[in-house]
Symmetry: D2
Subunit: 321 residues, 4 copies
């Protein structure tokens, strides 16, 4: 079974390569009647754009174009197809890496799995693919906003690197006022699907919920969140659970942290092999970010938003039959 769709109900299917004609996304299962316009998408796309001193000098001008599923400014319940055209493509930058595996990249595994790969800019494995996630996420966020739910994120740790090298970081995403009752035990628990969503972002190597790895050194009496009544609802006094118990959201803020690895493309020389198995040294030149942590924020928020909307619809199906 192919792996380019995410979600059961708010089903997001992405396509496109870094240096192909275009990238795009189909959202099948967006509820009808939602006001939607290209202008709703651009601010999120802009947040993902490279900026600051660690960012690539490459300018990305990504104007989304809605091709279906919206009529007279509203979603119709039919699939929403949105495309982004690749304009700023410089294929010749990538001719040198055609026959050699870049360390830390997916060149080798794609070649091994598929027997063929679009080597231009990483093809399908490029971080550029995440722009389509951000588009779907912008729509998901619109739906969550109607539920007064808001997703924010921040960089907790931002590494620094000497020139010619790269660095990583740590990000925290918080869902404020999430719907409660979301999550489908025992396998599609909300935390399971959120962690899957986050780890599916290329650069992420670890993820934790609430107190996360710290629980390993806590006592049960410290880690358990005691209950109290507050504002007429059952609330927890602490939030070590990160808003999810038994795989189901309890209405407290959902808190997720994850680690972002340093970008694999570095100018510093590294040892590698060619497709034919010969020894090589490689220095990846070009317009690359030396740290992508800040750019991951809107991508992570988007994956969280998509997951939440998907589970919101899943839960709705069973509500008050």
């Amino acid at each position: 079974m192919p792996g380019n769709s995410f979600g059961q109900f708010f089903k997001v299917t992405t396509w496109g390569e870094s240096h192909g004609k275009a990238l795009g996304v189909i959202i099948d299962g967006c509820p009808p009647g939602l006001a939607l316009d290209e202008k709703d998408l651009s601010p999120e796309i802009d947040r993902r754009r490279p900026r600051g001193k660690t960012a690539t000098k490459r300018r990305e001008e990504d104007k989304p174009e809605i091709l279906s599923g919206v009529f007279e400014g509203k979603t119709t319940g039919t699939p929403i197809s949105i495309v982004i055209w690749n304009k700023n493509v410089r294929s010749h930058d990538y001719s040198k890496i055609k026959n050699v595996y870049r360390p830390g990249h997916a060149d080798h595994t794609y070649q091994a799995k598929y027997g063929i790969r679009d080597y231009r800019g990483g093809g399908r494995s490029s971080g550029r693919e995440t722009v389509t996630r951000v588009i779907a996420g912008a729509i998901a966020k619109k739906i969550l906003t109607k539920k007064r739910c808001k997703i924010i994120s921040e960089v907790l740790l931002m590494g620094e690197a000497p020139r010619g090298d790269s660095s990583g970081g740590i990000v925290e995403v918080t869902v404020k006022n999430p719907p409660s009752g979301l999550g489908e035990p025992v396998f599609d628990k909300l935390d399971s699907d959120l962690c899957k969503a986050i780890i599916s972002i290329g650069a992420v190597k670890g993820v934790e919920v609430g107190a996360g790895f710290e629980v390993a050194e806590m006592y049960g009496s410290e880690n358990n969140d005691e209950y109290e009544m507050r504002g007429g609802r059952v609330r927890t006094r602490t939030n070590n659970a990160g808003g999810i118990l038994g795989g189901i959201s309890n209405g407290e803020n959902i808190v997720i942290r994850f680690a972002v690895k340093p970008p694999a493309s570095i100018e510093k020389k590294q040892r590698t092999v060619s497709l034919r198995g010969g020894r090589r040294e490689i220095s990846v030149k070009g317009r690359h970010d030396s740290n992508i942590t800040p750019r991951v924020l809107p991508v992570a928020e988007s994956m969280v938003a998509i997951t939440l909307v998907d589970h919101l619809l899943r839960q709705k199906a069973y509500d008050k039959l």
Copy 2:
């Protein structure tokens, strides 16, 4: 969509409550012709059994019974149904918790989501559910063994707790000689599905692959795994990627670590509320583990094995058409 199935091809569906008549699992999609017997399952079930000083005194005698899908000692390609009867059930132990939410447990979220819950021993949210995962995992491991792939695990950190309290730990799972080419970008990456699998185990609050959270403080030149030819294959000199690049296994050992929280059931008094919202204090007595980290090992190995076999079959579908 309900959440009690895991996997697309090697599809595992579990059912049953802690104090119901039985628990069970259906494996739909096990390849035909595999030798299979109840005796193949028992050793793995035994590994999950409580033992040592941190374990519950409750004796669990779990004899699996194969009800379908096996004929004359071999799988037939039809669904394999396996049941475990609940014998050692003492429902009266749980009458006190019927009307009160135990901190750290799923009592409250199940009640909020479903409007009803089997409160005896946690019902469906009980750790007892994992016995069915271990059964499916034992079958998955048999398939992996044919591919000379082996899964091991160890406790890296084991907390200690004063009497009446509980503690957590950290576990590492290693897949030795995994098949390469497994994983379906961009959402069903192998690491995404492995992390989902691990986080779906009730007590797990964080998970990482390879160098994991440490990547946040590494340079790209440190984190990237350089390539070399070894034994006639493309190999990496280091394994910070934990055997997975771009969401696809590269043939190096797959390494996953995760944090196990301290069990929520503790004798120490905690504040909570009743179903009607009244203030309560609770002390959870009974035969409970004070640290379940060692018992999680076979469960985690099982989830990893199920995920790998599922992806093995998924990849096979596309191989050499």
Copy 3:
């Protein structure tokens, strides 16, 4: 991907062979709070039991046992596991057909596909498997009854056969007062899923909706159902569409007809081959129905009920966000 599950939301997974220990069904996604008891299931199981002069003399006493998902008489939202034990099994009846393919049966295709088969009584391909569909259908019907929707069926044509031979028939299923708005274009249309459900019953070789095959000889002006207002709702004056337009139910009665083939097990001698390819003649003796058309009624109603409840839940997910 294995094929023993039906439905996305009201997800029915069946298992078991004709002459194995038991057969069973898991219903994952049954809404919580539904009153459910073994007694709800028995009347439907009884309707499927052989009776009359065309029926097998074999007595089937099928007592369903609910193993999970029900607590204090109500569904809890967790998977409902129900088992039927095979008691009346006479394996020696089937030893003669171990090495020969019975014409019209699935012996040959199962052997070819899986390389192994449980030859006792047809194993998984036996009509006995449908008892588990009827159990799931009984639960689905309980849900539809709450919506004041009722499913009935009748035999339109019942063939007769000389002694030693068998005959077929035609059945019509009508859904009275179905919910409108069910069906998910463009592939999971309600009629698509209903026809899939019906054809998945072993003996069915053709299916039609509303005017069915007759539309081929009608004019558009005859076939189109004109609209009028009736009882304050948009209604059609005729119902050639069989209650479904554009793949979505319009609230009129849903009407489906299908053809049932004559049972393949006949005493009359037929030519066939052995597993090794030798020529054989076969006469299938034993307690077999000579016409199963009446026994298919509850099975067909069950498949229709399951499909409707599944689509009811699917539609509910998008309703009034």
Copy 4:
């Protein structure tokens, strides 16, 4: 769960409305290494084009554009996105039907289900949607050709209609030299999925396999296909089963027939109601086919091809582990 995807492995997702900017299809799960070019798609698209005296005068010039998943003339295993731009759109033709339900069309059910609809030319429910199925089908056929499997179809019955009215027909699809062993009992049987595929085509109201509805009047001794050895393989002497037994292909030709209804758009006056419930008469003018039976051939072949490739990949996953 939304319904715009078909297939588990060779997964086809379509999008687009009749009078929107474009229509398109994503094929996720096409095996890598397949030669593919826009020129492979055009002949099939042309076969679907209106022609002859029963066809609309509207010229459709549908040039497919491949946007992803193909590199240097070969598929890469990543999602293939193909778009068709709507050029010949005359929206003003449809302003009259904005507020009235056309009999036989999906206007009313779409409005009832979604609360909103793109009324221009039927929007998503238009037959124009099938062009995207034909594109996916053309790729599926390329794969089947490698297996020496060929799909043909013919019109068995073609109705005639007086001016201002429309007529239907009957079509037969034959799969020559199909792979054996395809189909996943007990629900995803090959005939179940083929019938679902065929019924999902808007105009189809009935479908049958092999002897189809005639089995209702046959004896078992007539309907059973006797076995013999031929060309070193187990073959049937007749093919009443239509190439499928127990839901699994047996290698004989697969034969499917289905009924096509007369197009709903007719000039002849019909009674209907407006969105507000007022009585109306309607005469649907414009460039419409009076019989679409011949145009359905490539669409039906495409759905059969997609279903077969999907099951081919599903079966491959379990083959010789």
